[in-house]
Symmetry: C2
Subunit: 377 residues, 2 copies
């Protein structure tokens, strides 16, 4: 078993599901893994210690946001993103592409890159593959994502084809711009919701030797079943010896189905975002803590959970905090939801290693498919 | 040294400043002490563990707020306020009087009590001395405050006199309504900003044998110098063998001056409230973290502080979090400010015990009088 930087060691396979270790400059990442989203150099409402306590291995930083505020040069001056936010585990940064295409205003696309105006103050910016790499390297990111175009959904065949070719040229430029040995560059497969386009893009992207490959352009408003259909075929086609990352996904159910298709890495704002709105994931399904039925409920949120929130507080208290708009509500809910996601992944790793993946997958499907839109017990 | 419930043991005196221990049903309180305000069954942005870590001994709960939401009967059903919010140290509750007079609408005063409408939903409520005691006992409070009338400032001599007499009759009714042996009832001295009135009220209140006495009705908009003048005379007149509590006060400077006048206990929303607005107390004076001068400042907030925030994060990061409106900003700022207040009190206790109170007081005065309204170094 190699432990050199960027090595990806598959310890066990069970069907298409894999149990592996990716080595980064800030330590190993056990996969399958869910990465916590820390958009503006903080995972909302959480300290770094709490992230570790819930089982977080990797924190994701958003290049677009950090570039606009406080700026990567400032962060570099402060010792890099790890030191700035006091997170000393692995950090993955996205390329900024997704946010440039979803948040910014007045975009002007060219072969060179994208000019846009900040959603914060209207200031003019330009990001190219080279600029994206520079920002991510300045941040000191362990895993750097190639700069890609994120098409709107739906898009025509012609638009998709043109976009894939541009994304490929940008990948070559991204790789050429990489000068930081400690950072691992991942390429991004695009191609919309057509398996044929996806296979075309996969061939393009994997023609470039890289330490990891990602699927981008999902979770952009399409029916989620379409994504799962494609990932079912596409996942196993991705290089066996490299980590496979499904970007921006998803619900507990999405994660389980995708691991079953051979995916190793995930990220999503969902567990922390919905936590702040009072929605909690439990092993008995999703629940909304504001419901009247929890008013005098002395039980923990999730009867099968040993997180800080479930160990110390009742549903009645969590409901009270939420209705009172207290900051502690966001905190306790975020801790629980992240702990739930991390436990879901830990149990997946254990099941794959034990050769019991199918049983675990079916257990999760029974629990989440039926109950994901219901209120818990 | 007695350690029975309600005992107050003075270990040392230095001038009028005292170092003592008050025994409550949830353990000892070392005085002088600053109590953290947990209005709605949570000290804003803090977990119970973090409160302990910064040195909090007593949490204050607000009877008015908890009565309206979630209601003391619900909290009692959940095992009491300690269990509900998972704080197992001493809890002091106010009587609800102050909020009834400052927050509620359409008040109707009578000898019996106060009828008012909730600031939340306009619902009609009635609080009397008996009702206030019942609520505080249902909450399971360790220190219960007598129900008093809080006059507006300024008030006429006649209004003050009438109010003091009513407050005294209400104190007798409060004491008669106390049926919970584990709770200590404190009486409240009123009398506006006249020393003569205050002495009259003090004589009334201390004619009732109680485990502690408080000064209420300060910090209601008067010039703070007026309060200090009165407390300087009044503090030493309060019973030597009982804890003296100055309600709703104050700044670091207010605390030091009041300890010098023989006060033992304090509470104030200030350290947590201003923290959320980016104002931090340091040993070099107050500072506003949003200022441009901190943009690239790699130093900790307070160079003389060993709190979690100062140990782990830079001014540049704290400024970034504040400008980004991140929850972690409220958290880290609240931790620091509470830690600062608790350290100020801890050093005061040590100084009084060591017989070096005057030197410590003067050190604080030099630092805070000159710099309290300035930005730190």
């Amino acid at each position: 078993m190699s432990e050199s930087l960027g090595s990806f060691t598959v310890h066990a396979k069970d069907g298409n599901a894999r149990r592996a270790t990716l080595m980064t400059a800030h330590g190993p990442v056990e996969t399958p893994t869910f990465m916590a989203v820390g958009t503006k150099a903080t995972v909302k409402a959480m300290t770094p210690e709490e992230l570790s306590q819930v089982g977080t291995q990797v924190v994701l930083g958003n290049t677009y946001h950090l570039h606009l505020r406080p700026g990567e040069k400032l962060i570099q001056k402060m010792g890099g993103l790890h030191k700035f936010m006091n997170w000393h585990g692995p950090i993955l940064t996205d390329s900024g592409g997704f946010q440039v295409f979803s948040l910014s205003q007045l975009r002007t696309m060219s072969e060179e890159g994208v000019e846009f105006r900040s959603h914060l103050d209207g200031g003019k910016y330009f990001i190219s593959p080279e600029k994206s790499m520079e920002i991510q390297m300045d941040l000191g990111s362990d895993i750097i994502m190639a700069f890609d175009e994120c098409l709107k959904y739906p898009a025509t065949d012609e638009e998709i084809k043109k976009s894939m070719d541009l994304t490929h040229r940008w990948l070559l430029r991204s790789k050429a711009a990489m000068t930081r040995a400690q950072s691992l560059l991942f390429g991004i497969v695009q191609g919309g919701l057509s398996l044929e386009h996806r296979k075309y893009s996969l061939a393009q992207v994997t023609s470039v030797e890289l330490p990891g490959y990602a699927l981008g352009g999902f979770s952009v408003g399409e029916p989620i079943e379409l994504m799962h259909e494609i990932v079912k075929d596409l996942g196993p086609m991705m290089p066996e010896s490299k980590p496979r990352y499904l970007m921006g996904v998803g619900t507990p159910l999405d994660l389980i189905l995708s691991i079953d298709s051979g995916i190793d890495m995930f990220d999503c704002v969902m567990p922390t975002r919905v936590a702040r709105n009072g929605t909690l994931y439990t092993w008995a399904g999703k629940l909304s803590i504001k419901r009247t039925e929890f008013k005098e409920d002395p039980r923990p949120l999730d009867l099968e959970c040993d997180c800080y929130t479930c160990t110390n507080f009742s549903r009645a208290y969590l409901r009270h905090l939420f209705l009172s708009g207290e900051i502690l509500s966001c905190r306790l809910n975020s801790i629980h939801n992240l702990h739930f996601y991390m436990s879901l992944m830990k149990k997946a790793r254990e099941a794959i290693a034990a050769g019991t993946w199918a049983a675990y997958r079916d257990f999760c499907l029974t629990r989440f498919v039926k109950k994901e839109t219901q209120v818990g017990n």
